[in-house]
């Protein structure tokens, strides 16, 4: 458990960067729509944030799974066991 906690604190910046990338992507997509004839269908700022959180929720799960698979070995494979 401690091992997992330590790994996660190391990965914190990666997770935050992931959210930042997703938020940037959502903002860019919304800005393009805002600047088009379909402006009516663009999201408000709060809507963009909600969208980013929703997308992050999905991406976060797969990122965590990847980190765990890469860095946390099953007990039987750990040294000395």
């Amino acid at each position: 458990m401690y091992l997992f906690r330590d790994i996660m604190s190391e990965q914190g910046p990666i997770i935050l960067r992931l959210f930042d990338e997703i938020l940037q992507r959502e903002i860019e997509r919304n800005e393009i729509l805002k600047d088009s004839p379909y402006e009516e269908f663009a999201y408000s700022n709060e809507g963009v944030m909600d969208e980013a959180i929703r997308a992050f929720d999905v991406a976060y799960k797969s990122e965590i799974t990847k980190i765990v698979k890469e860095q946390v070995k099953p007990p039987a494979l750990r040294k000395g066991r």
């Binding site: 402006e39 999201y43 709060e46 969208e51």
Partner: protein, 212 residues
């Protein structure tokens, strides 16, 4: 020269080419409220700045935005001679629903002239929640069902055909994939802008393509 579609365009063409038939089929089968004309399909990468133009939100009250989320590629043979690709897309249907909010009595029980409820549940009690202003919601539901119908009916070997009648490109051009499926749906509403939306996750696979 062949007509080559990128993956987002492939998906948009598949939806737009099949929209009218799917809409009519579902309407005839009483699966949607009314036949919905094809909404505007948007690839955000190719949207032009508005330059003063603006769509009439009343006549064009739904859009479908398609974008690619991710792609993974693998070469399953030892000589790397063939390629398997998986593409993940989001199909985001957005509908304006401001008209749904006009009636404050949106969830009232409806009664006929003699005071009896016009709708009852299985136990005979009046239906207490029967929304009466649902234009936006109905439209979104119809748009979703049409998209689902098109994808489900093209889940195996989806094909987009382009026929060019004259010129050096004259002929029939076909673009294909192996499988196409919806992997999930989530609500994506924006109360601030009075927008209703559904986001559909879609997976497209191309298998065994030669690496030329």
């Amino acid at each position: 020269m062949a007509i080559i579609l990128d993956e987002v365009t492939f998906l948009i063409r598949l939806l737009s080419d099949n929209w009218s038939a799917a809409s009519t089929t579902l309407n005839s089968a009483n699966k949607i409220h009314s036949a919905v004309p094809a909404p505007k399909f948007i690839d955000v990468r190719s949207l032009e700045p508005k330059q003063g133009r603006r769509v009439d939100a009343d006549s064009d009250s739904a859009i479908v935005v398609v974008y690619e989320d991710s792609n993974s590629t693998e070469h399953p043979t030892i000589d790397h001679a063939i390629r398997n690709e998986t593409f993940n897309f989001t199909i985001h249907a957005r509908v304006l629903y401001r008209r749904d909010l006009e009636n404050a009595d949106n969830a009232a029980t409806q009664y006929n002239a003699s005071g009896a409820p016009t709708m009852t549940n299985a136990s005979g009690a009046a239906v207490a929640y029967q929304p009466v202003k649902t234009t936006g919601r109905d439209r979104l539901q119809s748009v979703y069902r049409i998209i689902r119908h098109i994808i489900e009916n093209n889940s195996l070997r989806p094909t987009v055909t382009t026929i060019i009648s004259s010129g050096s490109n004259a002929g029939t051009h076909k673009e294909t994939a192996e499988t196409l499926k919806i992997t999930g749906r989530s609500e994506a509403n924006d109360r601030g802008k009075k927008l209703l939306g559904y986001k559909l996750s879609v997976e497209l696979k191309r298998h065994g393509r030669s690496v030329i």
